[in-house]
Homo-oligomer: 413 residues x 2
């Protein structure tokens, strides 16, 4: 049974709405790479009783406890005292540490304020991790099989101490945690779940998390493997999932749908252009977020008004008047028009009602029509997308990008 | 003594390095405004034993417990079962809830997969919070003086439920936390800091946090006030800040630069059109993210290639050849061209190099030229924006939006 870790982030500002615990994210990554899973993350403010409570809980459920913050010189910095009190350890003055801190101030032409003396106090039996960048030293305590590490909250100081002092103390586990993310478009979360129920049931020791964002599903797989060995369980599931989902599976790990499109377009020597209304520029913005987009992305029209659909995307005003702006003929006209106007291999179009306003009883908010025009193919797709305005727009962007991706794969029909 | 809250964020993905618990930040803000301090935040994965442990600890130290995540239809969604098991409550089928979920699928032309049945199970005695946006209902359990609230992890669904179902159940405390966010464009963080040093020093009991995102600075002010009383300290600082920053202060609280532009455009009966290359559709996407944008936003051209600058934005090919695509004449030509083509009151343009590639030694990545054409005014602005590609794009979007805002205010010269 491998060791489990808990991270404790200390600081009242981290309880509020304006700061994220980025130290915890860094620690989770570095521990995961050593095969030590983080099972709990706790955030607690600068309150002595709450701090003690947080450490007491962590000592009851984790073998490696790493806390960040509360080691500074101010009256709010209470981590040292809270842990020493909880573990019933006296705080001793560390003469070498004190000299080091005084020396640091002297080097900057300053005299050490009396409050910094507290940073030279060490719970009896703790090892000191020197701070090469700031004044707050780190502390390592062993409590039976448990390792308690106290680190400063300043990211640069904390990270240096982890790399130099903490990771070397965590003997590399025989096991490490391998991860893979599979990315899926064009299916709902429950539909993905249904299709993969059997594979999921046979996942064995591979942990499986499914995550949905508007228009995209991710499956996160994690597997403990012997250091140096390949993630055989993940590889087996990856193959099984790909066999079932086929082209709904568009990428892995850092790949995005726009980077996939860029890769396919460059491989085919193809270019693309976009005419969009309901997505308001969001499709173009996603396509141009990848470096090198200028090699295959020609440009786009944000045809938000009827005039713009005619003037920029070359839609026939007669069709617009007859079928209305949110219709399959107009979506096809936008795709064909922008393709011709910018001389692109592919023209992609999106029109619709994002809400809160719609286009009458049979075209409520969420009605979206996509169009794609390419070599020998013109296709449209009518969708009813759920959610408020911003979610409809995000879903429509993903659906449009997926349609272009399928066109590039030769599977848009 | 006021009630104390603990937030529990559920999901193995939140333990890792790639996702932040943004739900917790939102909840901390809304609870703080009701005078209920958040004392602990716990993140736990999709493990049944760990989930039960997290709730057991929270029940021992907080009066209000709000958990997000793990209420979906998949086998990973275990919150309902963990809490019911811990509190020894049987799970009952809720017929009305089941009908609602089935109906929701039917409306989108789908049949409910069997896995969604679990979302209609309710721990005995729990109140149901309807989900107007998705399928997972929220649940409220009372345990003596303790309130345990289970919410879905999808931010849009969670927030709606908090506003409609949770906040009304939390009677207001004697003291509440008043907050205000002031939003600033066109100044760096250090310049904002320098101009406001004296006001900041006199902030008294008002907490002051400054937050920078690319192209935008926010000042977050917080003040404890008796329930029903006005935030006098915040009001005083707000007036002092506005007097110093003038039009750099573009909005407060939920206002965005695009909602401000929409308000100014509607008030003036003005319309706007955009031609953008470096921002790739990002300016149009921001403008169209506000409801009702179709009333004043005419459309835009994503003129990513030279051809597109000519074909969509009407730039003179001779100027393009002479001055290059990232130049003041081309920015002005794009603004004038799109304004004329779409018959808009204002034409806004952005061209530049987002990186990693640039346009030679005197036009490195980060070189951006903006153009604005309006009634009796054509102006350009050349900028050198720091940061990698995505940050340059974000800064350029904000700078372009700010130029349009100043045009609408009659202050673009």
């Amino acid at each position: 049974m491998s060791r489990r870790a808990e991270l404790i982030a200390i600081g009242s500002e981290l309880l509020g709405w304006s700061r994220h615990d980025t130290n915890g994210s860094y620690l989770a990554r570095r521990l995961g790479e050593r095969g030590i899973p983080v099972c709990f993350r706790t955030i607690v403010g600068d309150d002595p009783a709450d701090l003690r409570a947080a450490f007491a809980v962590a000592l009851g459920r984790a073998e490696v406890i790493i806390a960040t913050g509360g080691l500074g010189p101010t009256v709010d910095d209470l981590t040292r005292e809270a842990v020493a009190g909880l573990l019933d350890l006296p705080l001793d003055d560390d003469a070498a540490l004190l000299r080091g801190i005084e020396e640091r101030f002297r080097r900057h032409g300053l005299t050490m304020p009396p409050s910094n003396r507290r940073q030279a106090q060490v719970p009896r039996g703790a090892e000191v991790l020197p701070n090469s960048v700031g004044t707050a030293p780190g502390l390592v305590l062993r409590q039976g099989a448990r390792l308690v590490v106290l680190l400063p909250g300043v990211p640069g100081e904390m990270e240096r101490m982890v790399e130099e002092g903490v990771l070397p103390r965590l003997e590399a586990a025989d096991e490490v945690l391998a991860t893979r993310v599979l990315k899926i478009a064009g299916l709902t979360e429950s539909e993905t779940d249904r299709r993969l129920a059997e594979v999921h049931a046979g996942a064995g020791d591979v942990e499986w998390t499914i995550l949905a964002s508007p228009g995209q599903i991710e499956i996160h797989l994690r597997e403990r493997v012997r250091a140096g060995a390949g993630p055989l369980g993940i590889d087996r599931l990856d193959r099984a999932i790909e066999a079932i989902l086929g082209e709904h599976l568009f990428g892995r790990d850092d790949e995005t749908i726009e980077s996939t499109i860029g890769r396919l377009a460059r491989a085919a020597g193809a270019t693309a252009a976009v005419a969009e209304s309901v997505t308001g520029g969001g499709v173009a913005a996603r396509l141009t977020s990848t470096p090198g987009a200028s090699r295959w992305f020609r440009g786009g029209a944000v045809a938000y008004s009827d005039d713009a659909k005619v003037a920029l995307a070359g839609v026939d005003p007669g069709i617009l008047a007859r079928d209305g702006p949110v219709s399959e003929p107009v979506a096809a006209g936008m795709a064909l028009g922008i393709r011709a106007r910018l001389g692109a291999t592919w023209g992609l179009a999106a029109t619709g009602y994002a809400g809160p306003e719609g286009g009458g009883p049979d075209r409520p908010p969420g009605t979206v029509v996509l169009g794609l025009a390419g070599p020998g193919v013109t296709t449209t797709r009518a969708l009813r997308l759920p959610g408020p305005r911003a979610i409809v727009q995000q879903r429509a962007v993903m659906a449009a990008l997926d349609l272009l991706r399928r066109g590039l794969l030769g599977r848009s029909a």
